[in-house]
């Protein structure tokens, strides 16, 4: 078990290294810092002095990989590659590219908690709601209910989440005035701001998830142990809840887990629509302001979360399925 975990961690670190190199290549080799400065300053009258000033302020005036002008180890540390890529591993994210923007690390640190407040309840409720709906469909399989349930799922997954948000905000906040349209308050008050995004997000993903889980359950139902359980006279509900539900847990863990990093990234769109100051909203702001430093950092943070999640899923596997422990 320990060696398995160590091996996964080592591979994760290797992948993170690859992500980091790829991002650096994408941001600094495809375009030069001069081009970025020009786009960031904008306007017609972009002089070389302005560009140089922009670059010096943000530390982009150094050479990419190797600094000839310095001595000793500074030849490597006084480079863009070291300051902007290697230092990410120590969680030193540096300053953002924007004019008045502050330290990225600080922003990520505070915004993370907001995202988490949205993400954790959403994730748990999502798994429960989708599994419950799928189980309901499976219980009524071969009947009209199952058929129309699946039709409903297909219809629901054909609607963009943006529609759910806009209609939901319009209906629940403007017409019924049940919840504030957007905003955020620290402490317990946050519940009234979170209830609408969580509810709408649940509905938006229910169709796709429930249909997937239904297929997983049916796949499980066709296995031999189910026939055995039925043959020994167990009630259908007992078969479903005792035997099938437990065994379907493994594919459900994978499916739900693979969505976890996106949940952590704070469902980009939901945060920005509901004015929650989380990581997702931060990314959208950065993209609108064309702040390359923030986007670069968020790629790193996002990948880190993703890799961490996958290691967690593997651990969850070993908990759900003892056979995996032997492999």
């Amino acid at each position: 078990m320990t060696s398995f975990l160590l091996r996964r961690l080592a591979y994760g670190a290797l992948v993170l290294l690859g992500v980091n190199l790829a991002t650096f290549f994408l941001f600094f080799t495809v375009n030069t810092p001069d081009d970025m400065a020009r786009l960031n300053i904008g306007g017609k009258r972009v002089t070389q002095e302005l560009i140089d000033k922009w670059k010096t302020e943000r530390g982009y005036d150094k050479p990419l990989y190797f600094n000839d002008a310095k001595q000793g180890s500074e030849q490597f540390t006084e480079t863009i590659f070291y300051e902007r890529s290697v230092s990410l591993f120590t969680f030193n994210f540096g300053r953002a590219d924007g004019e008045s923007a502050g330290d990225i690390g600080h922003e990520v640190g505070t915004r993370m908690w907001v995202s988490l407040q949205l993400a954790l309840p959403l994730f748990v409720l999502q798994v429960i709601a989708s599994t419950a709906f799928a189980l309901l469909l499976v219980m009524f399989r071969h009947t009209r209910w199952d058929f129309w349930g699946v039709v409903l799922c297909v219809l629901m997954l054909s609607i963009s989440s943006l529609f759910y948000i806009i209609v939901g905000q319009f209906f629940f906040s403007r017409v019924l005035k049940l919840a504030p349209i957007s905003g955020y308050a620290p402490g317990l008050d946050v519940i009234k701001f979170l209830i609408l995004p969580i509810g709408l997000s649940l509905i938006a993903r229910l169709g796709a998830e429930a249909r997937l889980y239904r297929a997983m359950f049916l796949e499980e139902m066709s296995k031999d142990y189910v026939r055995t359980a039925r043959a020994k006279g167990l009630a259908e509900t007992v078969v479903l809840f005792r035997h099938v539900l437990r065994n379907a847990l493994i594919p459900i863990i994978t499916s739900a887990g693979s969505y976890l990093p996106y949940v952590f990234m704070g469902s980009l769109v939901f945060e920005s629509f509901f004015g929650l100051p989380g990581l997702g909203a931060y990314v959208i702001e950065a993209i609108t302001k064309q702040d390359f430093a923030i986007v670069r950092t968020m790629v790193f943070v996002g990948s880190l979360l993703y890799i961490a999640t996958y290691i967690l899923i593997d651990v969850a596997y070993t908990w759900a399925d003892p056979r995996v422990r032997l492999a």
């Binding site: 690859g18 992500v19 071969h142 699946v150 806009i166 297929a215 990234m265 959208i284 993209i287 996002g302």
Partner: protein, 481 residues
């Protein structure tokens, strides 16, 4: 003066795609097994109906993919100059909608503007909604005439639509009768009683429903704004129809762009194993570890810097917007191949152990030839299923990317752009709902059709998926086996 044809980047790929589809269709007709499988797809009523909807959208897309620039009337001794605007054949067909631009918002089928203005009537300044420049401009006394005019035009459109649909249905019955060598009456009876292999009755119903929707729209289009106008007074119906092409381009080109990498690397990893496998696995693990939206955002930002640096490459605004769309598809393709690659690797791992591959190896067939002639044809169905399944997801994804700010150029009509604007319109008082409703209606129709068609394809090509179908047992009596 002859217009100058312009071949935009996405046009090239769309026509290439059509050529590929025709080629594939030809291959299918020559292979009886493939023909049977595809026939099975169309035996599913939902898949048949949705394929008709998709076909209609495809026609619009094709009409919107023939671009040209009109020649300007020039002095005889000068070289021919062309308009700075690139138009498509669809623009020419819908030129009435393009030219009938209003000042600002107007409700669907309205004859007055949405916002009130101060107008001087007989020397007295009044706050009233002004008459529209084009919508309902032919009415002398709009208060009395409007309802009757709209209803009579709509009725005329419905009758026309029904006639077209009836003609199509008659042609279908005739063709079916000829093919089965039976009388017309019997053919019509069989179709009505659903006794045909392909559910032609569903096809006819779909045609009639489509006619009921399209007929009145076309009849009213010339004199009213059927779906209203947006903030700058542009016709919403026109925008929604134009958005179909953007959605189609994103859905097809992006999946097409994933194929070379996914298929090539997936088969190589699975068949060659060893260090090649390790390297490819590492590559797609790295790629899929980066949250997709962020990776796309990063790539699009970099592409933007590139376009910004080379303004000389594009002569018209449409060309630049189109190149951005093309790049977006390429980026979606280059960042999205990991899933299919993983799937094909697994399949190739399984296939390489089978007898026929071993036989080929024993005969001394080279490794590349085995991959191309023995492994590839046996994973094509997976590629097909994935491609069709991903289409609808990408259409939905476009809206989100455009909202995030890394999607389609704002100058290009797209569902994402429409929804983006609708967000502020929905918070106005009174609500401007028609843009949002139009985007919703068109997008849901397209995505739903794509999803149903994809399900049909998957069921036909993947026997395992068929057992998961939701179908009440009672309804099985009419369905052909």
């Amino acid at each position: 003066m002859a217009p100058k044809f312009v071949l935009l980047w996405t046009d090239i790929v769309i026509w290439l795609l059509i050529a590929l589809l025709v080629g594939y269709g030809w291959l299918v007709t020559r292979n009886p097994v493939q023909t049977a499988t595809w026939k099975r797809v169309f035996r599913d009523p939902a898949a048949l109906a949705s394929s008709m909807v998709i076909g209609l959208c495809l026609l619009v897309t094709l009409a919107d993919s023939l671009h040209y620039r009109r020649a300007l009337p020039a002095a005889p001794d000068q070289a021919v100059a062309y308009e700075p605007v690139t138009r498509s054949v669809l623009d020419a067909v819908l030129s009435g909608l393009v030219e009938s631009r209003e000042a600002t918002y107007s409700r669907p089928l309205a004859y007055v503007g949405f916002t009130k203005e101060s107008i001087e009537v007989d020397g007295v300044v009044q706050r009233t909604a002004p008459r529209l420049a084009h919508g309902g401009a032919h009415l002398k006394q709009p208060e009395q005439q409007w309802l009757g005019d709209v209803l009579s035009r709509a009725a005329f459109g419905i009758v026309g639509g029904l006639l077209v649909a009836a003609a199509l249905a008659a042609a279908l019955v005739a063709a079916f009768a000829r093919h089965q060598k039976i009388t017309w009456r019997e053919a019509a009876g069989r179709i009505r009683r659903r006794e045909t292999d392909t559910p032609w009755r569903t096809a006819i119903t779909t045609a009639f429903v489509a006619a009921l929707l399209i007929g009145p729209t076309v009849a009213l289009m010339g004199h009213y704004h059927v779906l209203g106008t947006d903030r700058t007074g542009n016709d919403v119906l026109y925008q929604a129809v134009k958005s179909l092409r953007t959605a189609f381009v994103i859905g097809t080109l992006s999946t097409l762009a994933t194929l070379p990498l996914a298929v090539g690397l997936g088969i190589m990893a699975g068949y060659l194993r060893g260090w090649v496998d390790e390297a490819i696995q590492y590559l797609y693990t790295v790629l899929s570890s980066i949250p997709n939206v962020l990776l796309i955002a990063a790539c699009v930002l970099m592409a933007q810097v590139f376009i910004d640096k080379h303004p000389e490459l594009f002569t018209t605004g449409a060309e630049r917007a189109d190149f951005k769309l093309f790049l977006l598809c390429a980026i979606l393709g280059l960042t999205g191949w990991a899933g299919l690659c993983r799937l094909l690797r697994g399949e190739a791992l399984k296939l390489r152990e089978l007898e026929y591959v071993q036989a080929a190896t024993a005969f001394g067939v080279s490794r590349w030839r085995i991959m191309a002639r023995h492994i590839f044809p046996n994973v094509v169905h997976l590629v097909l299923i994935t491609t069709v399944l991903e289409f609808s997801g990408l259409v939905l994804y476009e809206a989100i990317l455009t909202y995030v700010g890394v999607g389609v150029d704002p100058s290009q009509n797209s569902f994402g752009g429409m929804i983006n604007l609708a967000r502020s319109e929905m918070s106005r008082d009174p609500v401007v709902w028609w843009s949002f409703a139009a985007a919703f209606g068109f997008m849901v129709t397209l995505v739903l059709a794509a999803n149903l068609f994809a399900d049909g394809v998957r069921d036909a090509f993947d026997p395992r998926a068929r057992s998961l179908r939701a179908r009440p047992i009672a309804a099985k009596k009419g369905a052909p086996a």
